[in-house]
Amino acid sequence: MSQIAFLGAIETGLIFALVAFGVFISFRVLDFPDLTVDGSFPLGAAVSATLIVGGINPWLATLAAILAGGIAGAITAWMNVRLHILNLLASILSMIALYSINLRIMGRPNVALLGENTILTPLDSIDLPYYVTTPLAFALIALVVLIGLVYFLKSETGLAMRATGENPRMARAQGVSTSVMIVMGMAVSNGLVALAGALFAQSQGAADVTMGVGVIVVGLASVIGGEALIPARTILLAIFACLIGAIFYRLAIALALNADFIGLQAQDLNLVTAVLVAMAIVLPRFKPSFKSSRGEKS
């Protein structure tokens, strides 16, 4: 694997770390299987790209993308807690609806950002190649989000949110409005995913309505893979594991696709993803039996 491919994988991994953080909040903290992600990722891209092309400041455009994602997540949660639609189904409805909404926002299936002023433009003035500066910038963003998220989950509100996901009955008995927590958590989760979409569009130079396909699987792969690599003993470790999982996943994909001897090509990406996720789920289960069988021999 070339250095550029390696750094490219790191860069994408850092963007998808934000998706992993979002998926961690919905799947792990709130226990809410959320597929809205497949729609809120391109939503973030569509909103930011359309606004940037329209001449809006790229930072404001990115902020708008985060807000749009937050609203999408809140609507999914609202369908669940107020309309009592099964959580998975509510998120699928949002995902489907967002496909149309994203087309409406962009007015066409894709928007190019070539030559536009993005939040990455200031990096051009740094005397380093773009494939070094961009991952560094994304590492900084991922780190800031990581610290913010860890702090939030350790706050009074964050603790109430964790209790909501784990033991809603107990949370209510302790005066926590579980509905408010679910709506808030889903808004934060999808806001992060939309931020990732906005960053992805700006680093790739385009927003495309189909770029959300399979994002949830990648996010989940990162969360589960991270858990397999780093035991989540504390909140800090659990969130850090998402980051490592996202980067590791991208490297594994890049490695698989670059290893000529296996014969895999770019179109095999989703197949490789599915296999990697299945392995990340199954492999940790083999560990204990492996240990015990070793223990019996000694």
Partner: protein, 264 residues
């Protein structure tokens, strides 16, 4: 002061499975009284507690706690007034949170939760002090996940969490039923001590008539969603399980088989 007026709850109204769980239950509990509630399966004990805590919404009637009509309030809205210990020892705590985090969650019951860190230094001494009172050595294990503790230890902490902040009404839902006899005795003694210490108004549902007579100062028996009898100290003192059965027969004009209730 707790006032409950003509409470009615019906499950599955209009279906073949229609179940009138509460049929006009009225009760008044003065501040600081410890009431025990007995009744056979299906008498409405659990529905009664769930209605008080807000988990079940009532069809008609009124619930007034400390002069506040809470009838239409959701569980989390009345959590400031009502605290609760569940039957399932695992239900009152979060297994994946540490002891300290669980207590930090409980100390904010019914209060506004902000964005400051949940675990605060100023809490630690209070937590350790209260945990020390349990006599289980848990004050040294604040950073341990609750999931590592036994059912009895978790139920003791649930009780601690329910009484960490003052409440107008403490609900105990057969909270010793799922524990082994020795642990059940320990948790019951602890309950008595805490209720006495904080002078709490408490309603304890129990399956055991013996236990109902041994603790508290007033015993209610529910039958078919109503109060079958209501007896307070001093008349209650010295009563035994057969006396309760006689009392039921006198009041209802029908015999209640002993094994309709679990005796222990």
């Amino acid at each position: 002061m707790i006032k409950i007026e003509n409470l009615r709850v019906t499950f599955g109204q209009g279906t073949p499975l229609e179940n009138n769980a509460l049929r006009g239950l009225s009760l008044s509990v003065p501040k600081g009284q410890f009431v025990t509630v007995i009744g056979s399966n299906g008498a409405g004990k659990s529905t009664f507690l769930n209605a008080l805590s807000g988990e079940v919404s009532v069809d008609s009637g009124k619930i007034i706690i400390a002069d506040k009509d809470v009838t239409s309030q959701a569980t989390h809205q009345r959590a400031k007034l009502v605290s609760r210990v569940f039957q399932d020892p695992l239900a009152g705590t979060c297994a994946n949170l540490t002891i300290e985090e669980n207590l930090s969650l409980a100390i904010k019951r019914g209060k506004k939760r902000g964005l400051s860190l949940a675990n605060k230094k100023e809490y630690v001494e209070l937590f350790q002090d209260r945990l020390h009172n349990l006599g289980l050595g848990l004050e040294r294990r604040l950073q341990d996940r609750i999931g590592l503790l036994s059912g009895g230890q978790r139920q003791a902490i649930s009780l601690l969490m329910a009484t960490l902040e003052p409440s107008q009404l403490l609900l105990l839902d057969e909270h010793t039923a799922a524990l082994d006899p020795k642990t059940a005795r320990f948790v019951l003694e602890l309950t008595k001590a805490i209720i006495e210490q904080h002078k709490l108004t408490a309603i304890m549902v129990t399956h055991s008539m013996r236990q109902a007579l041994d603790v508290g100062e007033r015993t209610l028996m529910l039958h078919e969603g109503k109060v079958a009898f209501d007896i307070s100290n001093p008349e209650r003192e010295g009563l035994d399980v057969p006396d309760l059965l006689n009392l039921f027969e006198q009041n209802k004009g029908e015999a209640l088989s002993d094994d309709g209730l679990l005796l222990s």
